[in-house]
């Protein structure tokens, strides 16, 4: 569902019809805003930010659950369970790197550099896939250490939080591949590349989300 929503945001960014002529607006008392005036923000951008607001609330719900459960227990991890694998450090570095390559892609198209855009997007998508693969590897290590979905609340929160984040990040990878495909067709110019920008906004969001999860799950 996530990927579909993101793609749709891109598709609908074109204006539906030319704005009405400058004579509109009537008397001097006509209000601000509205279609005839320059919009402060495009539909797609606003829609994406609203979607991010909803996703933030989803993780507010999930992580407040985690905080309540963790505060309710006597010790964390609960007695008999190992700490989370230190492999999560590597994942965090990968995801921060992918944000950097995304910034590089965006700056390239700002200067009209199509090659830089394509390489930047491709690297970002590859790093995203690498992150997902590493997450699965961490899951595997953790379950080998005896922390499973069914072994109590410790495993429950880790698998569900990282899983839901992974689903959002996978949606981001699909968004990236779509933008990469559009870039391959040379659809973006230095002036007109809203798709790249929005993809960047979403990608930085899922990255920041991971850093937040990393801090509250692993560091604290």
């Amino acid at each position: 569902m996530k990927g579909v929503a993101a793609e749709d945001v891109v598709k609908t960014q074109r204006p539906k019809e030319p704005p009405p002529g400058g004579t509109r607006g009537g008397d001097g008392s006509s209000g601000r805003g509205g279609y005839g005036d320059a919009r402060a923000i495009e539909n797609a951008r606003l829609g994406l930010w609203l979607f991010i607001a909803a996703a933030v609330m989803l993780f507010v719900g999930l992580t407040s659950g985690y905080i309540i459960l963790r505060a309710g227990g006597a010790s964390w991890p609960p007695p008999g369970f190992p700490p989370l694998p230190s492999g999560l450090w590597a994942n965090t570095i990968i995801i921060i790197l992918s944000s950097a390559t995304m910034v590089w892609a965006h700056r390239s198209i700002n200067r009209g550099n199509q090659i830089g855009l394509k390489i930047g997007l491709l690297l970002t998508a590859l790093l995203g896939v690498a992150f997902l693969g590493r997450q699965v590897y961490v899951w595997d290590r953790l379950s080998a250490a005896g922390v499973g979905l069914r072994t109590g609340v410790y495993g429950s929160v880790f698998y569900v939080l990282t899983g839901v984040h992974g689903a959002h990040l996978a949606g981001g990878v699909i968004f990236l591949l779509y933008v990469l495909w559009q870039a391959w067709l040379n659809k973006y110019t230095d002036r007109n590349h809203t798709g790249v920008e929005l993809c960047g906004v979403y990608w930085h969001f899922v990255d920041a989300l991971w850093v937040y999860l990393f801090v509250i799950l692993y560091l604290i």
């Binding site: 749709d8 609908t12 279609y35 539909n43 507010v60 719900g61 609340v153």
Partner: protein, 613 residues
């Protein structure tokens, strides 16, 4: 557009393709439509269909409560599992109240008030051709459709039995309610899909209202119905994901063996549940963090609709437009910080409870502002008693009762006595039926001519409204008596308790009123479908209203709504403007232009409505 194409093709002799083309255009025009008006009408029909199911469940419940344990052989033959040999089993009763609540809240009131009128009204009233994201809009309807289908399918698998609030651990441990094993899982899945639909819809509404207003349509010239929907959409966008988080955890607990809501060492039917370490109270926090804004999600659109209808039929400007807007904002904000008042007796810290109590009582202030503004609008007005108006008046009256009975349970000490009794059931029915559904009826009667281009019958509408009002109060008001007498809600047979046995006559009154209320809705359905096919043709502005959908578009509006996007010159409630021949001033008409046109201008072919003067 497609019918024009069709005509052209037929004229060119492409007869062999014409039939196939026609079928395709039917599907794209009425089924997978991206036109906001068609999507709104799809929501309307879906909610009517679900209302029939939800209402039937309520009737079955009232049969059991009016005459507990009585043999009803013909019902036994319809429900061989739930009512073997004609006597209801307790598990079936649990399923009835759970599914009644769920269906009425998520699949009747929300699709009716938000889905139907949000989609239909937002582009029309702000003066644009469609939603910002038409494809997302279509997805939002079909996600709702899928979730409704899953919910109906769950009825055939024993339904859910943990109440509409789905309290853990009953809802997350399958062994705790073996008769609902599949049904409860489907219930969770259905609501997750429903949440996706809500998020897509609300994102669309907010973007559309912010970005696509007609020239001159500033925020403070928006009709109050749009304000209600705008604030509702913000609440939905922020509250639904939290419910989704809770539902996802519950679904994982149920199917994947996690233990978010399952405490350690829980023993169900003699078996220890594996895992553990979670807390059932977490579900209550997550659910009510969504659930209390949800109450305002269901009432704010109705408030907006009433604020829209009262001035039209009082022929007066709304009293205190900005106060109306700001009070809605205040209600929405406060709605987010009061969820704990649903949990006073759950073992929450009492100091926390006092905070929630005070915050809850503060909501009475903006609610009272709205109520007095509605009364101020009526004061001295030239009132026309049309069906939409009577429903809007019923909304105001019933909302006051719903609000006042809510304040009594918001008081922590009183709630300790009244919680989980029929007092609460009466209160929520005054808010959700008396408030939301009377608002919904008002909206259907009011915008029906614009939706379908025909009028509903005035006399039948009045009969339906008055009878609904009487029978509704007949079933909901005595519930307060039951509550004060201590009858618990969600109880299968109160006759098992000696102190409740003398309450059977009251329960019979409630049951008979409920059956009559159900029968009364046949008048509404008849009127609706009769109006759809046989109703008198409606002019573009039969109510002589000011807002754009009436004054700048025909009934029903074509695809794209407006020939040219209208320009807005003033607020939506300019009725009875001094120095004008006609007593209304359309939003798209400049006052000077209106005066020089001396009343025959852009208001269209407004059918003169002399009734009720």
């Amino acid at each position: 557009m497609s019918s024009k194409e069709h005509a052209e093709r037929a004229a060119h002799g492409e007869v062999e393709t014409a039939h196939a083309h026609h079928e395709m255009s039917f599907i794209s025009k009425y089924i997978f439509s991206m036109d906001h008006k068609t999507i709104g009408i799809q929501f309307l029909f879906s909610s009517l269909a679900m209302a029939l199911i939800g209402g039937t469940l309520a009737m079955l419940m009232r049969q059991q409560l009016g005459w507990p344990g009585t043999l009803v052989p013909w019902l036994g033959s319809i429900f061989p599992n739930g009512m073997p040999s004609g006597v209801m089993v307790p598990e079936f009763y649990n399923m009835l109240f759970t599914m009644h609540g769920t269906i009425m809240i998520f699949f009747v009131i929300m699709p009716l008030l938000i889905g139907t009128f949000g989609n239909f009204l937002i582009p029309l009233q702000i003066g644009y051709r469609d939603m910002a994201f038409p494809f997302l809009n279509m997805l939002s309807y079909w996600a709702l459709f899928v979730s409704a289908v899953i919910m109906v399918i769950s009825l055939f698998f024993g339904g859910a039995g943990a109440g509409w609030t789905g309290y853990a651990t009953l809802s997350v441990v399958p062994a705790a309610a073996p008769e609902n094993t599949v049904g409860q899982t489907l219930w969770l899945i259905s609501l997750i899909v429903f949440g996706a639909s809500s998020i897509m819809g609300s994102l669309n509404y907010i973007t559309t209202i912010i970005n696509l207003r007609a020239p001159g349509m500033s925020f403070f010239r928006l009709p109050l119905s749009i304000w209600g929907l705008f604030i509702t959409a913000i609440l939905l966008l922020l509250a639904t994901p939290v419910l989704a988080a809770g539902l996802a955890m519950a679904l994982f607990d149920r199917t994947a063996g996690t233990s978010f809501f399952i405490p350690g060492g829980l023993i169900v039917s003699g078996n220890r549940i594996a895992g553990g370490g979670g807390t059932p109270l977490l579900w209550q926090h997550l659910f009510w963090f969504f659930g209390h804004p949800e109450v305002y999600i269901m009432i704010l659109p109705a408030m907006g609709i009433a604020s829209e209808i009262l001035p039209v039929f009082s022929r007066k400007p709304i009293f205190g437009y900005r106060a109306m807007v700001l009070s809605m904002c205040a209600i929405a904000f406060l709605g987010f910080i009061v969820w704990g008042h649903h949990m006073f007796v759950s073992g929450m810290n009492p100091f926390l409870g006092s905070g929630f109590m005070i915050a809850t009582m503060v909501i009475a202030v903006p609610s009272a502002v709205k109520t007095f503004n509605w009364l101020g609008t009526l004061w001295g007005g030239n009132i026309r008693f049309t069906p939409p108006m009577i429903n809007a008046l019923a909304f105001v009256a019933m909302f006051v009762i719903g609000g006042l009975t809510g304040i009594s349970v918001a008081a922590l000490p009183v709630d300790i006595y009244l919680h989980d009794t029929y007092w609460v059931v009466g209160h929520l029915h005054y808010v959700l039926f008396g408030g939301s559904l009377f608002g919904g009826f008002a909206a259907v009667y009011y915008w029906f001519p614009k939706m379908f281009g025909r009028m509903m019958n005035d006399r039948l509408g009045k009969i339906h409204t008055v009878l609904t009002f009487i029978f509704y109060n007949g079933f909901a008001f005595p519930m307060f008596t039951l509550g004060v007498r201590g009858m618990p809600r969600r109880i299968y047979s109160y006759l098992d308790y000696t102190h409740l046995q003398d309450l059977q006559p009251v329960n019979i009154v409630i049951s008979i009123s409920a059956f009559l209320l159900g029968l009364t809705q046949i008048i509404f359905l008849f009127n609706f479908f009769w109006g759809l096919f046989r109703g008198a043709k409606a002019g573009s502005n039969p109510w002589q209203a000011n807002t754009l959908e009436w004054v700048a578009a025909p009934s029903p509006p074509p695809h794209g709504n407006y020939e040219t996007i209208p320009t807005v010159y003033h607020g939506p409630y300019e009725y009875g403007v001094p120095g004008m021949e006609q007593d209304w001033l359309p939003q798209n008409l400049h006052m000077e232009a209106a005066k020089s046109a001396s009343g025959r201008g852009a208001s269209g072919d407004g059918k003169k409505d002399g009734k009720g003067r």
